[in-house]
Symmetry: C2
Subunit: 365 residues, 2 copies
């Protein structure tokens, strides 16, 4: 039996030669945007009733259960706020103009994690308990609702026609998010093979709704609040959507081959949970004997033990599922870059956005 193989730096580097100069600046950019948005995000959370407010702060990684401050190690990357700020700068506005949008998308992202963890029954996230596990299901539903309402309120209070357009965009995004989550939940009940099987194009549509629309909204709100013309806003939106599909593909790779020490999940986690992710669906789409063996493993009523998971991962790779997923990620990242290059943007900010895209393709967690 081969030992679990984590995705190595070499494998990533083979996939995209741009990595070395990408890694350098991005953490600094993420930190700068986080520092810019934090006071307003924090002030928004302060407006909540203290109980959902604590759950929201816990979910954001700012505090422990009970409210004691956390050390910062549970915070997310803040990708959505960063995208909003950089896109405002890319259209020639100060990053500050994007802040209400950045706050709104971070609130929506936190809401969706909170409710999705309930629906998916996930008990851990970022190496600690999820909100429903720590506070109970009912309170977690409440906290998600509070964040949802606060996100809409944040943009509804932004004055002028840009505020109105921003609310419109956010509300469409919220509907798409829910639609994507519905599709994702329904995938679980569908067969691995045969006419009812989930096709990779259906998976891509789901990923665009569930992950792409909010990233597209983040980018578009940055442009919109920065005063960009409609054509530029639309291009930023499309770039964000492609980024979302690429982001999900990388997530799926990490869900199988990610390093448990970094992701905080068991090796082959998604395979053990029999999640219908892109690599597996792409592998099963081939008709060879090895995809038949993979289907038989996945269809077995027994839980997948260590050996079974190793074998399934090897079969997914042998059937081309891993290569197809890397290709999917790269293709959508290229499409995102093409969208960005189709409109005039401030070069420095555009470079930072492109660096961010590369960083996300190469992330380990």
């Amino acid at each position: 039996m081969s030992s679990p193989t984590a995705v190595t730096a070499d494998a990533w580097e083979a996939a995209d030669a741009a990595r070395p100069d990408v890694a350098a600046g991005v953490p600094r950019v993420l930190a700068r945007c986080r520092d810019l948005v934090r006071p307003s995000l924090s002030a928004a959370i302060e407006r909540l009733h203290p109980w959902p407010g604590e759950m929201a702060a816990f979910s954001l990684g700012w505090c422990e259960v009970g409210g004691a401050p956390a050390d910062g190690s549970y915070e997310g990357k803040g990708l959505r706020q960063t995208l909003a700020v950089l896109c405002a700068e890319a259209v020639g506005a100060p990053g500050e103009s994007a802040v209400p949008g950045a706050v709104a998308v971070e609130l929506v992202h936190t809401f969706s994690l909170l409710h999705d963890d309930i629906m998916d029954g996930d008990g851990t996230r970022r190496q600690r308990e999820t909100v429903w596990k720590a506070y109970g299901t009912g309170p977690a539903v409440l906290a998600g609702d509070a964040l949802f309402a606060l996100a809409v309120q944040t943009l509804a209070e932004t004055p002028g026609p840009q505020g109105t357009a921003a609310v419109g965009r956010l509300s469409g995004t919220l509907s798409d998010l829910v639609r994507g989550q519905a599709e994702d939940l329904l995938f679980a009940g569908r067969p691995w093979t045969g006419p009812g099987a989930v096709r990779t194009d259906e998976y891509r549509s789901m990923a665009e709704l569930k992950t792409g629309t909010l990233l597209g909204c983040s980018a578009a709100l940055g442009g919109l609040l920065g005063g960009a013309p409609a054509r530029t806003v639309a291009a930023l939106d499309r770039a964000g959507r492609h980024l979302g599909v690429a982001f999900q593909a990388v997530d799926d790779l990490l869900g199988i081959w990610g390093d448990p020490a970094v992701t905080g999940k068991p090796v082959y986690s998604d395979l053990r949970q029999r999640k219908k992710t892109y690599p597996v669906l792409a592998a099963l789409a081939g008709a060879g004997p090895r995809s038949g063996e993979l289907a038989a493993l996945l269809n077995s009523p027994l839980p997948l033990d260590e050996d079974g998971a190793v074998r399934a991962a090897a079969l997914v790779e042998a059937c081309g599922g891993r290569a197809a997923t890397l290709e999917e990620a790269r293709r959508h990242l290229d499409a995102a870059r093409a969208c960005l290059r189709s409109v005039p943007l401030v070069p420095r900010a555009a470079r930072e956005i492109e660096a961010l895209l590369g960083f996300l393709l190469h992330r380990r967690v």
Copy 2:
């Protein structure tokens, strides 16, 4: 032991002599407004993903589990849509102008029932299973989220400055709703007596947030979309808020003394569940020996059996809790009427709104 006494027509009539002429026209008004709003509400629900869409239709009483049409007996009164339509008419606009607002408030109401039933663990509503009981908790969370997003989207798509103002109003209402639900959930963990006990004024604040803001929003959106000046919109909002407090008081009376054959709940339902409602809190606020006996009954770790519930209900009544709640309902209904009379309204529509208020005080369910 006395037998359970349902609230009789006599008791209500003693409380408000206006009842006879009220009862006549209101069901017709409710039906007219329902017919006006239904096509748009139905079209909105059609926009949902089919799965949350079915749960939403089930929750609205339009279908059974699986999607087969229901016979209409599970539908709510449609109070919020009616209030929106009548308030548009009261400011001289056609009822049609209120329809986007009416749709939004019915969607928000349905969302809140769906999620509140999860948080409260309530397994039945309108004499059948609640959504989480019938479809599962995760799917019910999803369906609520879908309705929430759709409500915001419905108003965000309403053009012009009135649409913008409407979204702003709805988003504040959503935040207040969540705040009220948080307070209500926290009341359950507080003591019946002593310094930490829930005071009737705290209960009223909770009722205003949880029930009043959405009724206020319904009325205000009707006025706003009907083109009324800010002063009139504010008066309609205040009227709706007072109506909400009165509505909750009547709900609390029905939760103890309502006729099980009509409400679909067991006799003394709220007492058996030891809900902290206005009649009980008002009864306990007195310091006499009977309120001490009531507190002892409620503090007992044993479940309240038939005899215990009958005794508790009698004590609540003897301590003045029932009379205080009727008085609370009447006072806030009077305040609602005063708000309505403080601004110029079209007489016919204003009469229909006043009839609706009276009808709600005298409802059996």
